[in-house]
Each structure stands twice: as structure tokens, then as C-alpha cells.
């Protein structure tokens, strides 16, 4: 099992006390599998994604990756986990504005010491970014930026891709094209994909689908 969440709970402090977001959630994801996580706004989808990505830690429960509980890791090890195991794709792309497309694509892979020039060139080619490698993020359209974000996540050859509304900022046609690309590259890379989405249409294209409501999975 690549990813397993066991009885994970998470709450956030608010002015009126603690607000529970996840209440005893458990899920499993195999290598190479794709899973869609749907739910209303505020249902805890992104929180679950953040916990799986080692960006946040649960109040209780375990987040196991290859059987190792990442919730118990220290800051350095968590950073190493994010660097080497996870590829993150955000709705707002979150590219690094100060470096060009080529550097953005290679950033995480080089950070993890896994830079593969040939794989990077393949990605750039498949994502239609070859012409834009020397441009800066602000010089690209939204669709192009999201393709760079996907390329960046895949360049590190992650075992787990976590995508948070990756097409939420794109029009339907562009969004579909980007998702097609992501899914095919995910299969090629043999990575598992956990995608958060509002869209049932997009969720239907994943191998499995889970719905999060009131902090519980159904």
C-alpha cells in the first residue's frame, strides 16, 4: 500500500473554539491508482490532501506512506518526503515567479537530486512547453502555467501525485486537455494520483471516487 490514512482527525482553532474538519478518516491508495476526492466547500478535502502531502499534521491518527507514519516525522524528514515522494499540483499553479519555465520545470527534481534532462525534455514536449522554456510564469496563460505545474510535479518522478483542483482555474476545454495529459503521464510514470475536485464529471475519469462530507468519507 502506497498511502494509507488511519482514523485521521484534524481540527483548526477558531474564535469560537476548535473547528473539526476531519473526523476519523481512513483511506487507502495503491501505487499507480487514481482516486478522486469530492465534497462541498469546507468539507476537508484540501486538509486531507495536505496531510497526505506532509504539509500538515493530524491531531490524531496515522498517515502511512509505504508503511511509515509521516505524521511522526520531523521537519527535515518531512521536507525530504515532500521533495522526493510527492508531486503537488495546486489550483493556482504556484509557480516560482522569479525563475523561467525551464527552471520551474526542473526545480523540484533538482532539489531532490533526481533531475533527468531527457525526462524533462519529454515532459516539456508532451506538455507543449518547449517553445516557452525561457519565458517567465507571468508571461504565460493560465493553461500554460498549469501545464508547467504538472510538469514540475512529474519531473521528480514522484510516487504520489496530489492535485488540488488542478483545473479549477481553467475553462472546461483547457481543463480537459490538461487532465488528459496529467492522467496519461501519471500512468506512464506509474505514480498514484489523489485529486481533489468539485466536478463530478472530472471525478468520473478517476479509477476510484470518494466523497467527503462533514469531515467523514462516504
Amino acid at each position: 500500500m502506497l498511502l494509507e490514512l488511519r482514523n485521521v482527525s484534524k481540527s483548526y482553532p477558531t474564535g469560537e473554539g476548535k473547528l473539526p474538519v476531519l473526523r476519523g478518516v481512513s483511506l487507502m491508495l495503491e501505487a499507480g491508482e487514481s482516486l478522486a476526492l469530492t465534497g462541498e466547500s469546507g468539507s476537508g478535502k484540501s486538509t486531507l490532501l495536505h496531510l497526505a502531502g506532509g504539509l500538515d499534521q493530524p491531531d490524531t491518527g496515522e498517515v502511512l506512506v509505504d508503511g511509515r507514519d509521516i505524521a511522526r516525522l520531523g521537519d527535515k524528514d518531512l521536507a525530504a518526503y515532500r521533495r522526493s515522494t510527492v508531486g503537488l499540483v495546486f489550483q493556482q499553479f504556484n509557480l516560482i515567479p522569479s525563475i523561467d519555465v525551464a527552471a520551474n520545470l526542473a526545480f523540484q527534481a533538482r532539489l531532490a537530486g533526481r533531475y533527468d534532462a531527457a525526462w524533462n525534455a519529454t515532459l516539456a514536449d508532451r506538455l507543449g512547453l518547449s517553445k516557452f522554456l525561457s519565458r517567465f510564469p507571468e508571461q504565460l496563460s493560465g493553461g500554460q502555467q498549469q501545464r508547467v505545474a504538472i510538469g514540475r510535479a512529474l519531473a521528480v518522478k514522484p510516487r504520489l501525485i496530489l492535485a488540488d483542483e488542478p483545473t479549477g482555474n481553467l475553462d472546461e476545454e483547457t481543463g480537459d486537455a490538461v487532465l488528459d495529459l496529467m492522467l496519461s503521464l501519471q500512468v506512464e510514470a506509474g505514480a498514484a494520483l489523489l485529486m481533489v475536485t468539485h466536478s463530478l464529471r472530472l471525478a468520473g475519469r478517476m479509477q476510484r471516487r470518494l466523497h467527503l462530507s462533514g469531515g467523514r468519507l462516504s
Binding site: S46, Q108, L111
Partner: protein, 803 residues
Amino acid sequence: MAWQAFKVLLSHWRRRPVQLAMLLLGLALATALWSAVQAINGEARASYARAAAVLGQDRLDALARADGGRFPQSEFIALSKAGWRVTPVLEGEKRFGPERLRIIGIDPLTLPPAAAQVDVMRDDIGLLSFITPPGILLVSGETAERLRGVVTPPLRINDTLPPGTALTDIGIAQSLLEAPGEVSRLMIWPEQLSALPPLDAVAPDLIRRAPVIESDLSRLTDSFHLNLTAFGLLAFAVGLFIVHSAIGLAFEQRRPVFRTLRSLGVPLRMLVFLLGAELLSFSILAGLAGVALGYGVAWALLPDVAASLEGLYGAEVAGTLTIRPSVWGLGLAIAVAGTMVSAGTRLWRIATMPLLAPARPRAWSLASERALRLQALGGAALLGVSALLVTAGTGLVAGFIMLGAMLLGAALLLPLVLSLFLKLGGRAAKGVVVQWFWADTRQQLPGLSLALMALLLALAANAGVGTMVESFRLTFVGWLDQRLASELYVTTRSLEESGKVRSWLETRSDAVLPIWHADVQLVGQPVQIYGVTDHTTYRDHWPLLEAVPDVWGLVVRGEGALANEQLARRGGLGLGDQVNLPGGRSMAIAGVFSDYGNPKGQLIIGNHLLDELYPDASRLRYAVRVAPQKVPELAADLRTTFGLPQGNVVDQAAVKAFSLRIFERTFAVTAALNVLTLGVAALAIFASLLTLAGMRLSQLAPAWAMGLTLGNLAGLEILRSVALAAFTFVAAIPVGLALAWILLAVINVEAFGWRLPMHVFPLEWLRLFVLAVASAIIAALLPALHLMRLAPARLLKVFADER
């Protein structure tokens, strides 16, 4: 509606108290340094005005000799007999122990009401006590305090007198100054009888002088105060960088609010008015705090300034501060004006902003390459103006314009220069994090450029002024060694004692060199003429800047004179030029010598010529050549034999120590202002980093998400600040050297009348580098610590906020 809108605008600051604090602090500090300088200048000028107003000199005409020398009292008697209503005044300097006093002798019985500074008929003075020995010295409270424990005639306090001045009866003054039967001037009553004989018929040797509206001191010290004002302005400009940055950020952050307010029906004019009112209230608040703080700084600096003024110009300045409405008014005005100048372009943008203009919260930091190039072009043009003035400009004002244009030009060029540095750094970088570091630093440049420009100015000022001071110190110490070649300096108390001491010393030392001088007016300025005897001490040691062959032979034979550098520059005198000495002798300039720290012009002629031309010259001081090991014994013998006070027999080391002490105090003020300016610049960086920190999260969060720890990121933030400060330091060194050159070769020559050679002190730069890096680390530390301790939830908000 206006109040509701105002409350909404103010709510921005309530949510960002640090930003508000930075704005107020920047403005208050800028105003403080400016106000401190104004308060110091105001105090000094008031002292000069008091000095000028003594005995109504600023209102009454006076009769005096054309060369400024004293004349016989018989002239007064002749004029009085002819019906002229005049009153005699004798003025001169007298040492009482370590203190030097300006003695003014008056005749209380003939003093016109306009000159009656004191009522000698008062019970605590009494006419009889005033005019009969030992007499009474009227002095200010401060002077009386300084004279505590020193033997003087009885003192009475009169606080209308300037510090360092003593008023006494003319008979007592004649005795104290050893000028029996002499007067310096006759003051003319405004009311005179009709049908008087013409003045030139009764007193042909005297000329009538108009009231002294502006004192010599005021003129002499103008350049010093201009120097201080320039420093105050520099500090103010550095402070304004903080204000400009804080206002710019606040305006851009509130763009969506402006848009919302306008779409909800707040008229554009009202919005601009409310923003103006908001800034006005901030500037008044910060201005008041700044002036109060300025008084604190002035209070701390005034003793050093007073010492500088006395050391450089012999000007006595009161050591206490007076609260002056003009300082408050000017401080507030400059705070308000500075704020409005800083906010002008922002207000204009709001006034011309279309209702549906998109909110661009980071627009302020995204200066385009084109804007950068335009700014650099402006900077280059200013540097051109400065270079042009080097060849074409003359005068102190041109010197300051040259200096200002150079500094501002360099500051405007800085962002482009730094951008090039960072580009080169990026190209040379190998690792991904290092590459990102350079690229990210370059991207931060527009947001930090104002603070870095402030740092450049502060570093350049420190390097430049430091170079000037150290060059001065090196030259001054060497010069002192030359000039103070004699081992012992003796000041006698009377002519009779002078003769006895000289005879006594001649048998006990290698040489006794008279230090005799006459005070005269020459080429329109007060000049001291000294006489020298023929001795190798002068030939071997005197610090000549230029001279004709056999200069000392010419001087001793009465065929040539030596002028000090300030007299030569002010009077336009060069080698071979003739100078007309009062007394009817014309003399060629045979040499020019350096005379640092002397406010007055000085001429050296042969001692026998001084005797012949100026029989009234002061003949009380001697320099004694004697084997160094014999100095303590000889000094002790002198004191015992003649009962000379401690301060009248001083060895070379004591004179040097005293001169160096004066020197150190002279530059203590500039050093303090330098450090404060650097502090303000560090604050500017801190303010910019702190305000940028909040906006940086969206740029740092992805790097964190991809595997950099918060510790890595915080370390990089500090390193970025250090790198920028280091590059700014590198850019500041040539600017500082140019500043030092302008100060040494242009400003000082105009201000003080002497030019110093420029020396370079790389170790001082190292100290400055450490200071710059330390400032950068301190400025970045808080934002970095904040970043390091950031809860993941805050970073996750970056991703969550976007939906």
C-alpha cells in the same frame, strides 16, 4: 459618509500596526535628525546674535581705526571736548587659568541708553565697586560656572551676556589687558548736538563704522552650520525613503478598498481628501514626536558642537538648549512637506485611477526594466551635473549641489547596478537553490530598492566622512608634530614678567622663541601677525605648503612674509604677491603654511619688524627649546620662581593632547549623525523586509511545499539581506570616496579655508562592511525568525486563499 469612509481607511492601519509604526517611526526619525540640527544651529546663532548685540553694537555706529587696532584714549577726550557724545570701549582676550575670556571694558558714565546692557548702579554691583580695583566682571551664569575656582576679579552674573564674555569698567579692562590708556572703539550716541565739527577734523585716524548687523562669528561659522544642515537633510532624505516605502505599500494594499469605496458612492475627490487628511494627521503626530526626539539628540550633541565651534572658530556657544517655536514650526512643516512629497505620486494615481482599475497588490514592487533604466538615466544625468560642477562650479553652495547631485545620482543608479550584480551572480550559480536564490533576490529588488538606496547613502556618508576625518586626523597629527616642535610653552601675565621670564629662560634652555602677535585687519578680515626670530626650529619644522627659496632668510630680514593657508585662500594671495600691512609697510608673500584648526588668518614676519610696526603687540608668550628630559624640572622651576599658574606653563605633550581633544570633539557630531543615519537606513531595510514578509509567503510556500524547510527559507532570507547589503556596500565605497574628495577638496576649502590631502583607510571600510552586514542581519532577523516559527497552517492558507 466621510467619517464612515475615513474609518474604513484607518482600519487598514489597525490591522497592520507594524506598518503604521514604521511609517510614524521613519517620519519621526527623519524629522528628529533634521530638528536636532535646527535646534543646534538655532542655539549657536542665538549665541552669535547675543555676542553681536553686546553694548548695542548691532544698533550703534562706532569710531575705530581702519586696521582694527587700538588707539589712545586721548581721541575720546578730544571728541568729547569737541561736543561729540561718544563712549569708549576696550576689547581684548585674557586667559584666566584654563579659561579664555573676551573682556569688554566700558565707561558706565558715558554709555548711551541703547548700549546699557547692565545697570551698574544696581545694589549688588554699585558704581564704586565697578570702577575701582579690583573691579567687577559681569559674566553669564554659564561662564561663572566655568570660572569656578579660578582667580579672577569678583564676578557678578548677567545672563544677557553671551558665554565667554566679561563686561567690566574700562579702567579695569585696561589693566587686565595691559593696555593702559588705550581703547578699541568709540560708540556714538544716536542723539548728538547740532553744529558739531566734522569727525575727520577731530579724529582723522578714525573711521565711522555702521552697526554690526551680522557678527563676524555668524559669517565665519555659516559654513559649519551649512555642513550640519546638509547632514540633517541627508538624514531626513534617508528617513523619507522609509516613509515613501510605507506609504506606497499601504496605498497599493488598499487599492481594492479604494475601488470598493468608490463603487459604493464615495466621490473621488472625497477619497483623495480623506487620504490627504489621514497622511496629514500622521505627519503632524510623527512630526511632533520627531521634534521632541530631535531636542533630545540636540541636547546630547550640543556640548560637542559647542566644543567644535570654539575649537574651529573661537565661537562661544551656550551649552543649554532653548525651546524655540521656529524649530517646532520648521520641524512640523518639513514632516508634513516630506510626507506629502512621498505620497504625492500615490495620491495622484488614486485621483486618476479608473473606477474599475484592477487591484494589483504587488504592483508597487514590480518596477519594470524600463522604469529602472529611466531611473538610472536620471541618476547618470545627476552624476553628470556633479562632474560638471567640479570644473565649472565655485563657492560653498555649488559644492553642496555637487555633493547632493552625486549622492542622489548614485542612489538612483543603485537598483540597476544591483540588478546587474545579481544577474551575474545568477549566471555563475550552479545548484538549483542557489540559482533560485539569485533570481528571487533580483525579483525582490524593486521592493527593497528604496531601503537599499537609503543604505547606500548612509554607507557612502559614513565612508566619505570617515575618510575625511581620518585623512584630517593623519594630516593633523603630523602637522601638530611639526608645528609644536618646542618642548615647553609659557604664557606670562605682564610685560614686566615677560621680560624677566625670558631672561631667566635664556640661561636655562637651548632657545627661547617669542610668540608675539598683533591683531589687525588685513584684506578685509581679522588677521594675527606673528613675529619670528632666526632659529632652526622654524627652518626644520614649520609646515610650509609652498615657499620661495631662502624663505626664512627673507622673513627674518623683513623682506618677506608667510601667510597661513586660510589667509592666502581668502585673500587670494600667492607667492610673490604684495600685501599691505597696517602701519604702512608692503611685503611680498614668501611662503604659505598649513594652519589647521585656526579660524583666523595669520601672517608671519620678522620679529624685529613686528616690534617696529606694532609696538602694542602682545608679548607675553614663549616657546622654549630644551632637552625633553629637562622639561618637567624646568616647568616646575618656572612655576615656583615666578608663581605662574599651572595653565601658564604647558609642555608639548599637553598642548598636543589638548589640540587632539578639540579635534576629536569637532568630529564627534558628524560621527554621531553618521551612526544615526546608518541606524535610520537599517530601520528602512527592516521596515521593507517586514512589510515584504507578509507578501513573500505566496512566493515561499511553493518552495516549502516542494521540500525546502522553513529553516532553509529563513536562512536564505537572511542571506539575501546580507548579499544585498554587501553589494550595496561595494557600490557605496566609490561613492564614499567621491564624497570624501568633494568634502576635502571643495567643501572644506570653501568652509574652513584649508585643503587636506586625501588618504584611504581600507580597515575603516572593513569596519563599515561589518556594520552594514550586521545591520542587514539585524533587519532580516525578525522576519526570518517569524518565518521559521510559522505554523504550516499559515503557509497552507496561501494555497487555500486562492480559491
